[in-house]
């Protein structure tokens, strides 16, 4: 009567082997290391660079474990974190702008294990040290900006159709109010407006179009809710892309960029300590504007001196504080920029920046350049600094902007979506490309959360977490062995397998281990005990009721299984809630807890039963149980 199907033994064996295999990579210590990647197209990763790096390091008195070259980066493994700091401080200035030098923790997992897809758990920031930012995208500003763009489009359309208007304005509720001059053809205007919005708004992608309502000589344009939502969502997505470019240029090995909730972005930069530099790079809440140059430096200076600035122009200044007159009309704005890269111009061999903008922007650029070859085109960099003022006791959130002309080159020919800016030095080209990309944010963002964990604290946390789990485990094992004897040993084996499974599953799914994760691990040990206690107590009870040992084992396991199922499922419900409503570290805790509960059901019901059957089934005359 005490028997157990063969296939379940096979299953247990398979689980055991897999769990051991996939948990194994965590046993390999990671090397602190420095990773060198090329940041410009001329930089090469080769033997020469390796020798140069080795010479530099030996001059600084640092002996690396080794250096290796793999897929386009050079990895320098070092003995400890101090050597890592020294090495990066030496290498960063010495290698110059062409290479980015990042701190990294290099895996020492043997190749055959990696080939199987086994990898260690990644460590959370609290265990590794580093910077954690949360940024919030100002969706309202994105919407406002887009609506203003539409209003601009309507003005152009009406002007082109020679329909007189006295004003086209964005209202505070993000509708556009159009007031036509007396006697203008309202229907024709309406048609023009709808036409001008057709490509701009979301109808092409299946959304509903904006409402265009005419009332006398007034027309109101109201965007559909779908369109508004899409603008908000796009803004976050676009910012995310921009940020991802920016954090790649900071030089950390494994930056994390995730979307959190509707309008937040989480950025994690392991190993980084200097937040000021990182924030400056990430958080430059800047945008770009392309404007036609209406007056050169001399005219501008004259206009400033006389105070008579042409009505269609504004005075801007470049980095050297020289004035320049630019059109009031924005030709293309930063959100329409798709990419900007420094190149060597194939025709002249001179440094240049190649700029790509989206099709709507490209069309306007084409229209503009058709008529303006030989004139100059200005690029204005607008930096936004958030401010909070108190007006009548109420907080008013606003922003102060700093505007600067970063480029004003001559238009050489007609172009559309893709064009080059020349006449720059190599350094200027690099800078401009960087600034252009950095300026392409669709909406301003704010840092709303910042955490910095020092590297020593990280190492301490790993040690604490491990100690806590170890002791939790030791307390439990000792108690069980004393209290349940043979069944206690079986329970202990089941618990060890349980721990192994949790670690293996978490590694396999690339979960991040954090301090709360360790807590989850310790708790799941405490919880998995429950299933085993239920079984063992039930067997004792059946024995006391006078049941023969083998029958008591079978009944004990069967009756306890139901209870285990019910009680553990409620635990999973709590875990799921934590995951669904928690963020970052809480989710780590929840994941460990849930995996732990599931694993404990398996080990308690299946594994321990298999072991008990293995031990007691062959005994023909079983009088008593060591329980």
């Amino acid at each position: 009567m005490l028997e157990f199907p063969r296939w379940k033994y096979a299953l247990i064996l398979v689980v055991l082997v897999l769990a051991a295999l996939y948990a194994l990579p965590n046993a390999y210590q990671k090397n602190p290391s420095v990773q060198i990647t090329p940041s410009t197209s001329e930089a090469r990763i080769d033997e020469a660079l390796r020798q140069r790096v080795e010479v530099l390091l030996s001059e600084a008195g640092v002996t690396p474990i080794g250096t290796e070259i793999d897929d386009n980066h050079l990895l320098v493994r070092l003995h400890d974190a101090d050597a890592q700091t020294v090495a990066s401080d030496v290498l960063r200035p010495a290698l110059g702008e062409n290479y980015s030098v990042a701190l990294n923790l290099a895996s020492t997992v043997p190749q055959w294990l990696s080939d199987l897809g086994a990898r260690p758990m990644s460590l959370g920031l609290d265990l590794q040290g580093g910077v954690h930012f949360v940024m919030q995208v100002d969706q309202a500003a994105a919407l406002q900006k887009r609506v203003e763009g539409y209003a601009d489009g309507i003005r152009t359309a009406l002007r082109d159709a020679r329909i007189g208007y006295s004003s086209v304005e964005r209202r505070n509720d993000n509708t556009i109010g159009v007031v036509l001059v007396e006697g203008a053809d309202v229907n024709a205007a309406r048609a023009r407006i709808i036409e001008s919005l057709a490509s701009a708004s979301g109808q092409v992608v299946g959304g509903s179009g904006p409402q265009v309502l005419a009332d006398g000589n007034r027309i109101t344009v109201r965007l559909s809710q779908g369109e508004i939502d899409r603008i908000a969502a796009d803004a976050v997505e676009q910012n995310r892309t921009v940020i991802s470019n920016r954090i790649n240029s900071i030089g950390v090995a494994e930056p994390v960029l995730q979307r959190q909730g509707e309008d937040r972005l989480v950025i994690q930069l392991p190993g980084l300590q200097d937040t000021a530099e990182a924030k400056r790079l990430i958080g430059a809440t800047a945008t770009l504007e392309f404007r036609a140059v209406t007056g050169d430096e001399n005219q501008a200076a004259a206009a400033v001196a006389s105070g008579s600035i042409p009505a269609d122009s504004r005075v801007y200044y470049d980095q050297n504080e020289r004035p320049l007159l630019l059109s009031r009309r924005v030709l293309v704005s930063g959100e329409q920029l798709i990419n900007a890269n420094p190149i060597t111009d194939p025709e002249t061999g001179m440094p240049a920046v190649i700029i790509t903008i989206n099709s709507a922007g490209g069309k306007r650029m084409l229209d503009h350049t058709l008529q303006n070859v030989g004139n100059r085109l200005g690029i204005v960099y607008v930096e936004r600094i958030p401010t909070v003022r108190t007006v009548n006791g109420e907080e008013v959130r606003g922003s102060r902007s700093v505007e600067r002309v970063i480029s004003s080159s001559t238009i050489q020919g007609v172009f559309g979506r893709e064009f080059r800016t020349t006449g720059l030095s190599r350094e200027e080209a690099n800078d401009l490309a960087q600034q252009l990309k950095a300026g392409a944010l669709a909406a301003p963002m704010d840092f709303v959360e910042e955490r910095v964990v020092g590297p020593s604290l990280g190492a301490e946390n790993v040690e604490r977490g491990l100690t806590a789990v170890l002791y939790a485990f030791a307390f439990t094992l000792v108690f069980f062995m004393l209290y349940y004897r043979m069944f206690g040993i079986v329970t202990c084996l089941a618990l060890i397998l349980n721990l192994l499974i949790v670690v293996a599953v978490m590694s396999l799914f690339g979960a991040t281990m954090s301090l709360p994760g360790f807590a989850g691990l310790a708790l799941s040990i405490g919880l998995s005990v429950d299933a085993n206690v239920l079984i063992n107590e039930r067997i004792r009870e059946e024995l006391r009721a006078g049941m023969p040992p083998k029958a008591a084992i079978v009944t004990g396991y069967e009756k306890a299984s139901d209870t285990i199922f019910d009680s553990n499922l409620t635990g999973i419900i709590a875990g799921v809630a934590l995951y669904a409503f928690g963020t970052g570290p809480l989710q780590g805790f929840a994941v460990t807890l849930v995996i732990g509960i599931v694993a404990s059901m398996f080990t308690a019901i299946v594994v321990s039963r298999a072991l008990v059957t293995l031990i007691y089934a062959p005994r023909k005359k079983l009088k008593s149980l060591a329980i």
């Binding site: 709303v448 955490r451 939790a472 069980f480 708790l523 209870t563």
Partner: protein
């Protein structure tokens, strides 16, 4: 004398838990109200996660006095800074609450540097271990999500237990769980410790363990109602007695593993471990003394009929010759 098998709880206990059920029920109401009052009146010492602001974890070379640091911060013009030890005596957590409407955390690096220079003295310099800054919007969302999570858990329990048992059991189990969480929350409030995200996680998992304990008892109640010919009070008594050793041993082992967390996990896990330890204690007691007596109250009174196989089976029985 027989040493083995080891038993903490003597076999076949016959304690009449239900005799004093009115006392337990009264205690339940009393403690529940008291806990609500404590939480309502004293409230929590909410951590940065929920209030927003900046927290700086500073390690000094020698142990420092909290009061001295507080004074130095005051005189440096950093008002309403909260100072507390964190882990060892050399580590301090200095918390500066942000303005109600502080949306971004742009100024915090400067603030952290100011805090460090104000707190350090030439003969006992400090070093920043970690800093945290949270804007008011993030903390507002966290508060909201915490409430959602608790509601989600309770509704989940109600549904699941109604499905597997019966609605009366579901209501009582959820009530008991709510009671446990409230009592633990009140106890935590009385310790005056920081209520941070990990404590919230602790409270939510207390819900998980507390219901776990209750379910094990109810499971036995269900089994005994079906298998025994006895009046409900006798069934409850037997069920509690039969599961008593399991309840106590599980809680003990669980308590031990959380104790390890409390002792060795360091400052940031202390709050979590503490709620768990209190939760283990309260949850065990409530599953023994509170859960079953509640099943004898007015509309919640459970009878044998509630647990007998339902109508469909009766029809099947009726069809038999």
């Amino acid at each position: 004398m027989k040493i083995f098998p080891l038993t903490l709880i003597p076999a076949n206990t016959r304690i009449d838990f239900m005799r004093l059920r009115h006392v337990w029920s009264a205690l339940f109401v009393l403690l529940f109200v008291a806990s609500l009052a404590v939480v309502g009146l004293k409230g929590f010492n909410f951590a940065l996660d929920f209030t927003g602001g900046t927290a700086v974890n500073v390690r000094f070379e020698q142990p420092v006095s909290v009061d001295d640091v507080r004074e130095r911060l005051d005189s440096a013009g950093i008002a309403n800074a909260q100072v507390q030890t964190f882990g060892s005596g050399n580590d301090l957590l200095i918390r500066v609450r942000g303005a109600e409407d502080q949306k971004n955390v742009d100024g915090n690096a400067e603030l952290a540097a100011n805090v460090l220079s104000a707190a350090s003295t030439p003969d006992n310099p400090g070093q920043i271990l970690s800093t945290e800054s949270i804007g008011s919007q993030v903390s507002g969302d966290l508060r909201k999500n915490a409430i959602y999570a608790a509601i989600f858990v309770l509704v989940g329990f109600l549904l699941y237990i109604s499905l597997r048992f019966e609605w009366k059991f579901a209501v009582v189990a959820s009530l008991t769980t709510l009671f446990d969480v409230m009592v633990v929350a009140a106890l935590f409030s009385l310790t005056g410790r920081e209520f941070d995200l990990t404590v919230l996680a602790g409270l939510l998992s207390v819900m998980g363990f507390s219901i776990n304990d209750t379910i094990v008892v109810f499971d036995r109640v269900r089994e005994n109602f079906r298998g025994l010919r006895a009046d409900p009070l006798e069934v409850f008594n037997r069920s509690i007695n039969q599961t008593l050793s399991r309840t106590i041993i599980t809680s003990l082992v669980f308590f031990l593993s959380v104790l390890a967390l409390f002792l060795y996990g360091g400052g940031s896990l202390e709050g979590l471990a503490l709620t768990q330890m209190m939760g283990a204690l309260v949850g065990t007691l409530s599953s023994i003394f509170i859960a079953c007596p509640l099943l004898t109250w007015g509309v919640l009174r459970v009878t044998k009929q509630d647990l007998l196989p339902k109508a469909r089976d009766e029809e099947a029985l009726a069809r038999r010759p």
